[in-house]
């Protein structure tokens, strides 16, 4: 590394480790107190909040699911009136998709990617903080609306004309559309940060073929977000315009097109499924080797499968619309493309099976959840191939068969790996192990509860039970199975309760973890648990796919970074050759105020279009404050 000419700036060479840690800590730590907590830009703190908030929304969405199961547990039940039921299923879907699944995956990326690529903070740290606040305010907006009995009641996909001006009076659909805007702004911000972090901030030597699979998965996910989310932001904005300003994007009577909504929504909505699933693929591929005692089988195949899935996911969206009456050729094309996604998915499954086959599995909780994932996801994939065929889909469209299918792929395909990931990375995030005994309890309760809850829904769907109904007549043959499903849902909820109890208890009372409790090979395990604010005392140098391979006790490091300002290393995209020392921004309270100003503008614009004009003034002021040079050493480069 080159040194500064003057050599007056303090560098991390020729000083003891303790002294280096002291200087780095001074430079990278946030101030104590409330304002320090609000203004922090440490990716670990921000991502930790993101994860915790997303899990709060998982609990809330889960409670809504339990409310629906209570209502459906018997025919003609009167626990919930039809209007509230419509709000509840819309809130359940919107909360789970927009406030839990996508944010939690992006938050895991924001926490893990900088550690796994060996850098000191995420790219654009203030944008990261901004993103969290926007996400939080969007979630609060939706849930306050629910508390006020004005929650959206048009389904999580808000089809027009049902959600349009003629059939959705009041502000319910507008609140849904604006919540979308909040969460998409937040998601896009994190996606950009992840992509830049992966491309430009990898540790020296971590060429593209040495990136951990999780980081690859998060990179592909980020590109899916960047390319898919604009479609939904456009559609939610035009829906608000139709409803508030009187445009006619979706109004056939004035030359608009109601079907345009479905195309735009599913052009986002199908990649969304992979935005949730691909990180899970990365998690499984990264966790598995630590529990089978051998490296992952087929690294290159898995990475190619990830990228293929990402590309293919943009060519499938019409399979959500098979029953709207599209041309036959279109339906055939999308049947074929939907079935072809099974090829990369199959490659992934076989790579994991081969890894398991050739290794010596140690059945700890994360591995149990991964095995549960493989079983459940394969079943969900099978029903996916079934509903990819038009005649079959026409039969089961809008029935509980589809409900069963997508819960199998979403919970089986994403939540199981996510829980495995929490068990696996909890020691890194908190410095403490989660209880193995409670872990096993939570796995068996969740696994059995899940299958007992959702498998009978296939049968209910084949027996003709439609989705989104708030009750059914006792003469219909669905009564006993529905009661069974509702009781099984209690088991599933119990499993999640055990999981949350375990996490909360272990956070304070768990056994100390040490830096690498699983003997894993990726870089995040090279630093202490929890990692210090600067992540690594010295930025590591990578020379293989598994930098912490057992038996190699020495990890080469980079020297020559400044310690008096937040500084990290920028490397080339392909080979990760060092290019420059780049400063990383300091803490700032302005991202918080910018998020407040943006939220005021967005919420206000539900009621009058003039909010966009007047509300943009505070946004501009806060952005000026955000970017105004403060004379800190970080401003120099």
């Amino acid at each position: 590394m080159t040194r500064d000419q003057g050599a007056r700036v303090p560098l991390d060479v020729d000083i003891s480790d303790a002294e280096l840690e002291r200087q780095l800590k001074e430079t990278w730590s946030s101030k104590p107190g409330l304002w320090g907590a609000i203004s922090t830009v440490d990716h670990k703190v921000v991502a930790g909040r993101y994860i915790a908030t997303a899990f709060v929304f998982l609990i809330l969405g889960g409670l809504l699911a339990m409310a629906m199961r209570l209502q459906l547990s018997q025919p003609e039940a009167r626990f919930i009136n039809p209007d509230r039921y419509n709000q509840i299923f819309t809130m359940h879907g919107s909360t789970m998709m927009f406030l839990f699944a996508v944010p939690v995956m992006e938050a895991m990326a924001a926490y893990l990617v900088p550690l796994m690529v060996g850098t000191r903070n995420i790219a654009f740290p203030r944008l990261n903080a901004f993103s969290y606040w926007i996400f939080l305010f969007g979630g609060i907006l939706l849930w306050v609306a629910f508390a006020l009995d004005t929650a959206p009641d048009v389904g999580w996909f808000a089809y027009v004309p049902l959600a349009g001006p003629q059939y959705a009076p009041g502000k319910r659909a507008d609140l849904w559309a604006q919540m979308i805007t909040f969460t998409e702004v937040a998601a896009l911000a994190v996606a950009v940060e992840i992509a830049v972090t992966v491309f430009k901030q990898r540790a020296p030597g971590m060429s593209l073929d040495r990136i951990p699979v999780l980081v690859w998965a998060m990179l592909v996910m980020s590109f899916l977000v960047i390319m898919a989310m604009p479609a939904i932001m456009f559609s939610s904005t035009t829906l608000i315009l139709d409803r508030l300003v009187g445009t006619h994007f979706y109004n056939p009577a004035e030359g608009g097109d109601a079907l345009l909504w479905q195309h735009l929504f599913w052009f986002f909505g199908h990649p969304e499924v992979y935005i949730i699933f691909l990180p899970a693929v990365g998690m499984v591929s990264t966790i598995l080797p630590a529990f089978v005692g051998r490296p992952l089988f087929g690294y290159m195949l898995l990475v190619m499968a990830l990228i293929t899935t990402g590309v293919l996911s943009f060519g499938l969206w019409v399979h959500h619309m098979f029953t709207v009456g599209l041309p036959r050729v279109g339906e055939s094309f999308f049947t074929a493309s939907s079935m072809s996604i099974a090829v990369p998915a199959g490659i992934q499954i076989f790579c994991w099976l081969a890894t398991l086959w050739a290794g010596k599995p140690v059945y700890k909780t994360p591995l149990l959840f991964i095995l549960g994932f493989i079983v459940t996801f394969v079943m969900g994939g099978m029903t996916g191939v079934m509903v990819a065929s038009v005649p079959f889909d026409t039969q089961v469209h809008d029935t509980y068969f589809v409900v069963a299918h997508f819960h199998y792929v979403l919970i089986g395909g994403a939540v199981f790996p996510l829980i495995a990931a929490v068990y696996y990375w909890f020691p890194k995030m908190t410095g403490r192990m989660m209880s193995e005994r409670l872990g096993r309890w939570s796995f068996w309760l969740i696994f059995c509860g899940f299958h007992l809850t959702f498998f009978p829904m296939h049968i209910l769907g084949l027996w003709g039970m439609p989705r989104r109904i708030y009750t059914y007549q006792p003469e219909l043959p669905w009564t006993s199975l529905n009661l069974f499903v509702s009781l099984s849902a209690l088991v599933l909820a119990g499993g999640f309760l055990v999981f949350f109890v375990n996490a909360i208890r272990s956070r304070r009372n768990g056994l100390p973890a040490g830096s690498n409790p699983w003997g894993a090979a990726t870089l995040e395990w090279a630093t202490s648990s929890p990692p210090p604010p600067y992540n690594f005392r010295r930025i590591p140098v990578v020379s293989s796919l598994d930098p912490l391979t057992p038996g190699e006790n020495e990890l080469p490091v980079v020297a020559g970074l400044r310690t008096d300002r937040r500084e990290l290393l920028v490397t080339s995209v392909v080979e990760a050759l060092p290019q420059a020392r780049e400063s990383s921004t300091t803490d700032s309270v302005w991202p918080f105020w910018a998020a407040v100003a943006t939220s005021v503008m967005l919420v206000w614009s539900i009621f009058t279009p003039w909010a966009v004009v007047w509300g943009s003034i505070p946004v501009a002021i806060t952005l000026i404050g955000w970017f105004w040079p403060k004379g800190s050493p970080e401003d120099e480069s």
């Binding site: 004309p161 001006p165 003629q166 059939y167 410095g431 202490s528």
Partner: protein, 205 residues
């Protein structure tokens, strides 16, 4: 070691902040939970509708006192977008436009010219729909539920309102031949020029 203890300290601090924030959030949530702004009844409860049916009209069947329960409910049929929109759908489902056009009148009187033959109160309009009126207005007592009659009355009242309301009905996708319902009251529409539309009833209000 020092790093770890600092991390633990940070955790404790942030935990306290989060606990405080969560408590404040929950308190705020609890405060607003009781404030249900726009309840929507898909099935109105029978005792309520029975009470709503108890209008006390003046002897000439023009104006009168609405049932107490209407005020206890918060005048929903005039103030919630859902009920107004339901009223609008009932307007087309029950063929009101056959005589009243799109509110502009035809064989029957207009609703948007500022004139109310039996007065602009909800009770009068409900009574007109329920019991019918001379010169051709049929009674809908046996064709609509009480809930529906009130919804329709609320919508009709909003058509010819004298003052602007923050509550609006749903907007039509189709073009309409009259101004939108959610406009501010158009003084121009009420200004009928030198020749009043209803010369038999004196000057316009």
């Amino acid at each position: 070691m020092r790093v770890q203890s600092a991390g633990a300290m940070g955790n404790k601090m942030s935990a306290r902040i989060w606990f405080g924030g969560a408590a404040a959030g929950l308190a705020a949530l609890a405060a607003v939970v009781g404030w249900m702004r726009e309840p929507r009844q898909y099935r109105a409860s029978p005792p309520l509708t029975a009470a709503l049916d108890q209008l006390r009209l003046m002897p000439n069947a023009i104006s009168g006192t609405p049932p107490e329960v209407y005020f206890a409910l918060g005048k929903p049929y005039e103030t919630t977008a859902f009920d107004l929109s339901q009223g609008k759908r009932l307007y087309s489902w029950f063929g009101c436009s056959a005589c009243h056009g799109e509110g502009t009148g035809g064989k029957g009187p207009s609703f948007i010219d500022g004139w109310w033959l039996y007065g602009p109160s909800m009770v009068s309009i409900v009574a007109s729909i329920r019991d019918g009126r001379p010169h051709g207005m049929p009674a809908f007592r046996n064709r609509m539920t009480t809930d529906e009659i009130w919804q329709l009355a609320g919508y009709i009242k909003s058509l010819g309102a004298y003052t602007a309301s923050v509550t609006a009905t749903a907007r039509n996708d189709e073009k309409t031949g009259r101004p939108a319902e959610n406009r501010a009251p158009a003084a121009l529409l009420f200004n009928q020029g030198p020749e009043p539309l209803h010369p038999d009833q004196g000057p316009t209000p």
